[in-house]
């Protein structure tokens, strides 16, 4: 058997074992990264169970604002269209 496949098989077996996570443990991988002292871990905001990284919040907010503006702002009329 290919070594990688054997390793995958072992990992799949481990992955199939149900692990009960405490609320403290059940956080986003990104905040685990922050806990591990990784460089540039980012800033996180939390409201109750809702946790989001600052960069992701900026991107989602920008998309929502773009969507609303695209519906509201009138389109400039250039050449006469059919």
């Amino acid at each position: 058997m290919y070594v990688g496949q054997e390793a995958c098989s072992v990992i799949r077996k481990k992955a199939s074992v149900k692990v009960r996570l405490s609320p403290r443990e059940a956080v986003m991988l990104g905040s685990r990264q922050a806990g591990a002292g990784m460089p540039d871990a980012g800033v996180y905001f939390q409201w109750g169970d809702f946790l989001i990284q600052f960069g992701n919040l900026v991107v989602i907010t920008t998309m929502v604002v773009l969507f609303i503006l695209a519906l509201v702002i009138p389109f400039p009329h250039g050449r006469k269209r059919k």
Binding site: I11, P39, D40, T62, L69, L71, R81
Partner: protein, 231 residues
């Protein structure tokens, strides 16, 4: 070739006997040149919500161009030189813009039920483009060759191994991922996006929900066998 002497079909068009002629006739009936590159669009296209599809395509073109420059110069260049770091950054930011434009495009089309009027395959190819783009971007994040890409790879390997594809899509194999990222996946995105755009041209830009079916601008002056009868 026999096209010059082809007998006329009942509708007045020449009847082709070769597979190349038949293929050309099939393609031209579904996508005549004035539909592929139209000079005019319906008035409802004059809205900002209709620009995000083409904005995503523009971002994608820049991603391909900057990606080609990065691939040809290599990590020793884009990690060290000032210009290399700049191109590397614009490659990332154009990906951010690509996804933002694509998501706003998706929201706009979802809320106007853009699968109407025989446009189901247009909708499905759009969703496919989104999914393949996510995989492509994922492999790009793995190629940063820094601590961040190591972190992402060793979190992702568990998920990929759990679904049984880790041996073939090995996030710890930088060479394999580089090939996925710079050849197969961009090609897949480009093909799916091209099919999506051609389908948009075949069926026309989807009208707003409030547009009346009897609206004159929704009706083509020439009959289109590819779309007529599908509404």
């Amino acid at each position: 070739m026999s096209s010059d002497s082809a007998p006329a079909a009942p509708d007045g068009e020449p009847g082709f006997s070769t597979w190349t002629g038949k293929a050309r006739g099939w393609a031209l009936r579904r996508l005549p040149a004035d539909k592929l590159l139209p000079e005019r669009q319906p008035s409802y296209v004059s809205s900002w919500i209709y620009i995000f599809g083409m904005a995503a395509v523009a971002a994608f073109v820049y991603i391909l161009g900057s990606g080609a420059v990065l691939a040809l110069n290599g990590p020793a260049w884009f990690h060290v030189s000032g210009l290399g770091r700049f191109i590397n950054s614009t490659h990332l930011w154009s990906v951010e813009l690509f996804f933002m434009f694509m998501v706003v495009h998706l929201w706009g089309k979802f809320w106007m039920a853009a699968w109407r009027g025989g446009r189901v395959m247009t909708w499905i190819t759009g969703m496919l483009a989104f999914l393949v783009s996510i995989v492509t971007a994922f492999t790009g994040y793995l190629l940063q060759t820094n601590f961040d890409s190591q972190w992402i790879a060793f979190q992702a390997k568990d998920a990929l191994n759990a679904v049984g594809i880790g041996a073939w899509f090995n996030v710890a194999d930088l060479g394999q991922l580089l090939m996925w990222h710079i050849t197969l996946l961009p090609l897949a995105v480009a093909v799916v996006v091209a099919v999506h755009v051609v389908l948009v041209r075949m069926h026309g830009v989807v009208p707003p929900l409030e547009a009346a079916a009897s609206d004159a601008q929704l009706r083509s002056t020439a009959p289109n066998p590819a779309t007529d009868g599908e509404d």
